[in-house]
């Protein structure tokens, strides 16, 4: 009994720092955001006394659903594109010679050596109406001269994919590197074509990497505001832009908190749903599904 209690105690002591960290830096701030939502705003950007539901009512503003929808579809599209590009990349990186692999890995993380903002401004230059890319595409007859490459949702999507891609490649590469490629041979030996082996054996084999890549890209995408601010236009505003606008321009912290809470709930609902579904799907149920 004594040994048991001691083991429990040491377990607690070991996990205590991370608990405190989570509590002080994640849970408390999140709770504060939710609390501020119910406070009145003062004209000078402060938080007033008492409680109010005024902010909650403004969330019903017909502008918001469109912005939330746009935020969601841009994030989903960016995540999908990133994973679609990163999976073959991860497969390739796991298969090439170690020397080549080191080089490719270096190239993948090379962009991080340049400031995030500088890279986005570089895209602005690239996509500029007077930029080389535009002129080239017009010359090739691929786009009409009046088309704008900048200040629309597609520009935002492009730069989001560009920015987030390494965060998808790295976890997928890490999972692919651990993948036992003899399983692919085994699948082919059992009659599967290369594509089928990839789909039925490789993809399930790296599912942890895929899931990590999804979270690493999707969640930051939802909160992005710098990219739509710089390369996007009024029609490609995301919820992050609105939060920034409420904070810095309107100086209305309760409004900003309300939008933040909305975003948090939007992220939490699917995640809680997925977790709940997973827990329900115990191994035995999965077997029964097979019908044996």
């Amino acid at each position: 009994m004594k040994a048991e209690r001691r083991r429990k105690l040491s377990e607690w002591l070991v996990t205590l720092p991370s608990f405190l960290w989570l509590l002080l830096l994640f849970l408390v701030p999140t709770a504060l955001v939710f609390a501020i939502m119910f406070k009145p705003a003062t004209p000078y950007g402060g938080i007033g006394e008492g409680w109010t539901l005024a902010t909650l009512r403004t969330l019903g503003n017909p502008n918001y659903p469109a912005i939330v929808a746009r935020t969601l579809w841009l994030s989903v599209a960016a995540t999908a594109l990133c994973i679609l590009l990163a999976t073959p990349m991860g497969y390739y990186m796991a298969r090439v010679s170690p020397a080549r692999r080191r080089l490719v890995l270096l190239l993948v993380i090379l962009p991080f050596w340049t400031s995030f903002l500088v890279r986005i401004f570089a895209w602005k230059v690239l996509l500029h109406p007077e930029g080389m890319l535009k002129h080239g595409l017009v010359l090739l007859g691929l786009i009409a001269p009046e088309t704008s490459l900048l200040y629309n949702a597609y520009a935002v999507l492009l730069v989001m994919v560009y920015t987030e891609l390494p965060f998808a490649i790295l976890p997928i590469y890490a999972a692919s590197e651990k993948f036992d490629f003899r399983l692919i041979e085994a699948a082919k030996d059992l009659g599967a074509t290369s594509f089928l082996a990839f789909r039925k054996i490789f993809l399930p084999g790296i599912r942890v990497g895929l899931l990590t890549a999804f979270l690493m890209v999707f969640i930051p995408s939802l909160g992005s505001y710098v990219i739509p601010d710089i390369v996007g236009g009024p029609t490609s505003e995301m919820i992050g832009n609105k939060i920034a606008q409420r904070t810095f321009v309107d100086r209305n912290l309760p409004h900003a908190a309300g939008l933040s809470a909305l975003l948090t709930v939007a992220v939490l609902i699917p995640m809680v749903a997925i977790t709940a579904l997973r827990r329900k799907e115990s191994p035995k149920d999965a077997l029964r599904e097979e019908g044996v």
Binding site: R182, L183, E185, A186, D189, L190, G191, T193, G205, V292
Partner: protein, 442 residues
């Protein structure tokens, strides 16, 4: 395993193949070569396997046996030559279009699929009807006696069970050839021995051709109908296990499979009728035997089936268990060779004792089976003067000799491991008192 037999005979299809007339040229490798850079993994190999045969490719690592198997499976393209399966050229077919299945050394079970789904994989890929998949998988689960483990994942079952699932996963597709790539290498000794028996039974039951790759001569000997011994990408010798063991053609085969002694000498005149040999050697009666002059030895007799001419240099291989060791000089007999020496090392191995006897430059290894209760005898000890004798038929003249192959011969323990430790064994081993009565094998 009785269960397996029952399950198999009730099953359809598979068993019929056995009644088919064996096609003698079922699987043919024709002048197949494969290079990796400058390394010749497989060097112009031609090989024919009969239908239903248990055929082994045996050799040390890097001899090309696995490459040959991978060429048949379709994972490697040969640089030259072609592969024929049932008369059809399969050289350029991708792996998934070949009617062969492989059991990999690592088993390569799909970790995210259950035992059931692993076995069903090939059938599902082939888009067979659901009903049939269910029946076939159930039949296989009975064959490997794992009906109650069908829904476990590969990481929830033992090594031996993984092995059996791998076998079932391959066999369920009814391949024309089952390829086994060192399937037992990852198992411990006890399990390996059990799986050996199971593999043998399964082969008897399903009757399909097995191509078995191994570096373990014991596995190859006990399972195979025929063995191809490979070295440096070439087939060194091909034959039944007994042929390969008893009549090795080269020093490599002699030393790689089992243990042996090598002697080199010069062929002297054949022994004509009534020619009397001096001293202890016998009277020869047959000209199939030649006299052999070996440095430091009295003239020996040797069976000369290869008609090697007088004056030629030959190498002789004699298996340790064919030699007899005794304190007294054996009675001279027909074709009996006798030499004198001093025991240099002894290891007691329970069912047998291994001696190394020094004569001149030679250190001869001799194995003595304990057919009688050892404790009643006075065992031969280290340092004793002994006589080693053998029948002339038991020495085998080699066609090919390479000095390197002497490294494959088993050495006395003191030259392998720690001197002090093995010396202790040597001192203790021959002492009768140290032998537990139960181990002596009365």
């Amino acid at each position: 395993m009785r269960k397996i037999l029952a399950a198999e005979t009730s099953g359809s299809g598979v068993r019929k193949r056995r009644t088919q007339r064996p096609v003698s040229e079922f699987l043919v490798f024709e002048d197949v070569s494969k290079h990796y850079g400058a390394v010749k993994a497989v060097d112009h190999v031609s090989l024919t396997v009969k239908q239903g045969e248990f055929f082994s490719l045996l050799g040390p690592s890097g001899c090309g046996k696995t490459t040959l198997l991978r060429i048949l499976a379709g994972f490697e393209q040969p640089d030259t030559g072609r592969v024929l399966l049932g008369g059809e050229d399969v050289t350029d077919l991708p792996p998934y279009e070949r009617k062969v299945n492989t059991i990999f050394q690592s088993y390569a079970l799909f970790p995210h699929l259950s035992v059931w789904d692993n076995i069903a994989f090939g059938l599902k890929v082939a888009k067979r009807p659901k009903r049939e998949i269910k029946d076939e998988v159930a039949r296989m689960l009975t064959l490997i006696q794992m009906e109650d483990q069908a829904w476990k994942k590969p990481d929830q079952i033992s090594g031996g069970q993984k092995q059996r699932v791998a076998i079932a996963r391959a066999l369920v597709n009814k391949p024309r050839v089952l390829l086994l790539d060192e399937p037992l290498a990852a198992l411990d000794l006890k399990l390996r021995q059990r799986m050996l028996i199971e593999l043998d039974l399964i082969h008897d039951e399903v009757g399909i051709t097995f191509l078995y790759v191994t570096h373990d001569q014991g596995e190859a000997m006990s399972l195979s109908d025929r063995i191809a011994v490979m070295k440096l990408g070439k087939i060194e010798q091909l034959g039944t296990p007994a042929e390969i063991y008893e009549a090795p053609r080269s020093s490599f085969v002699a030393a790689f499979i089992g243990d042996t002694n090598f002697f080199d000498g010069t062929v002297a005149e054949p022994l004509e009728k009534n020619s009397v040999l001096d001293g202890f050697l016998s009277v020869a009666v047959d000209k199939d035997y030649s006299r052999l002059k070996i440095e430091d030895f009295p003239d020996l007799e040797c069976f000369n089936d290869k008609q090697i001419k007088e004056g030629e240099h030959v190498f002789l291989s004699i298996r340790p268990e064919k030699l007899r060791i005794s304190r007294e000089r054996p009675e001279p007999g027909p074709h009996l060779n006798v030499i004198e020496g001093r025991v240099e090392d002894v290891i007691y191995l329970g069912s047998q004792t291994k001696y190394w006897v020094r004569t001149g430059d030679y250190r001869i290894s001799v194995i003595r089976q304990h057919s009688r209760f050892l404790l009643d005898e006075k065992p031969i000890r280290w340092g004793e003067r002994v006589w080693v004798s053998w029948h002339a038929d038991d020495g085998f003249m080699l066609e090919k000799y390479s000095e390197q192959d002497e490294n494959l011969i088993q050495l006395p323990p003191e030259e392998v491991g720690e001197t002090t430790e093995s010396n202790q064994i040597l001192v203790r081993a021959p002492a009768a008192g140290a032998v537990p009565a139960g181990a002596a094998g009365r």
